[in-house]
């Protein structure tokens, strides 16, 4: 089995177990303000990091290209409260058009 398949199956199972744990363990176990705060901030930190790495890097290099312009459009679309799919595919289309120029 390839490493990618193991990742898909293992991480998928892990995410299920995280959900099951929430419905199963006594609430007191994680009832600590620091735990709640960290859990609240993890998505913020990870998603912000994912955006930046995805848009501003290629391998070990920091880059500025069509992806950055597409992210700029995404910001504008989000400010205009555009739906998720419009933001995602609008940005893709914008990057594709810039590359044609």
């Amino acid at each position: 089995m390839s490493a990618l398949w193991l990742t898909v199956l293992g991480a998928g199972l892990g995410c299920y177990l995280l959900k099951l744990a929430g419905l199963s363990i006594p609430p007191q176990v994680l009832d600590h303000p620091i735990v709640s705060r960290i859990a609240d901030l993890i998505p913020v930190a990870l998603l912000a990091a994912l955006v930046s790495v995805q848009v501003f890097s290629s391998g070990p290099h920091l880059t500025l290209d069509a992806r950055a312009a597409a992210l700029g459009l995404a910001v504008v679309l989000l400010l205009l409260r555009a739906p998720f799919l419009v933001v995602v595919f609008g940005s893709a289309l914008f990057a594709a058009l810039l590359r044609l120029l």
Partner: protein, 237 residues
């Protein structure tokens, strides 16, 4: 409350839940397309949606793979993002009171949308109705549209021609957006970006993103601010 009122309330819950389920399920098309563009096969993409079934973690896993990260770092990133479902579960446990096989099955449906559509209901029956209808509707929609997106994405050829590589960043930003209304979160996001981009030139791919989780750890320990971790951002994740 009379029986007729109860019925009207239940119909309203079913209608709203189906609406949220369909609207969310459609996002699956973007996940499917981005996943095959990141190098997963159509089958791997569909298995991921069926098994992991939590959008942000799935986007993270394929995003880290696409940027050259190791399978292990992609899995860890997905799992870290999956921890928020544990907190939703903690909140839902008392509200839904699921036991045995229902808990085993219901756990799979503990996601942003099903939590949002059930935690604030007035009765346990209403909460359960909102949870199951939303969860099942999202599950059916998300997996159907994942397949559609993956098949379409596989036909396209080089994803860069269609800007699909740029779509990944936009998807992450859209997931992050509702949380950025909070100023404290804005600081954490900026610090996370600095850490991640600072590490890109020196660390193996995948590590910069994981390291950014350290910012969350540090900020959580150092700040004293009452927050409700299960407070849902409007929209999606």
């Amino acid at each position: 409350m009379s029986t007729r009122d109860d019925e009207a309330v239940r119909r309203g819950i079913v209608r709203d839940s189906l609406g949220v389920g369909i609207a969310t399920g459609v996002y699956g098309v973007s996940f499917g397309a981005i996943s095959v563009a990141s190098g997963l096969s159509i089958l791997q993409t569909c298995v991921l949606s069926l098994l992991m079934f939590t959008g942000a973690s799935q986007f993270a896993l394929v995003g880290v793979i696409a940027s050259g990260g190791s399978p292990l770092s992609s899995a860890l990133t997905a799992l870290l993002l999956g921890t928020r479902n544990t907190l939703y579960g903690l909140k839902l446990a008392g509200v839904l009171g699921l036991r045995g096989p229902r808990r085993v099955a219901g756990s799979h449906l503990v996601i942003d949308e099903s939590t949002a559509m059930s935690v604030l209901r007035e009765t346990r029956e209403d909460a359960r109705l909102g949870f199951w209808v939303t969860g099942i509707a999202v599950f059916v929609g998300w997996n159907s549209f994942t397949l559609a997106g993956a098949v379409a994405g596989a036909q396209l050829g080089d994803p860069r021609t269609y800007g699909l590589d740029a779509a990944v960043g936009a998807a992450f930003l859209a997931l992050l957006w509702p949380r950025l209304r909070d100023r404290h979160n804005q600081y954490v996001a900026v610090a996370a970006v600095a850490v991640a981009l600072g590490l890109v030139p020196v660390a193996t791919a995948g590590v910069p993103v994981l390291a950014a989780a350290g910012v969350a750890l540090l900020a959580g320990v150092l700040t004293r601010r009452a927050t409700d971790p299960t407070e849902l951002p409007e929209g999606h994740a």
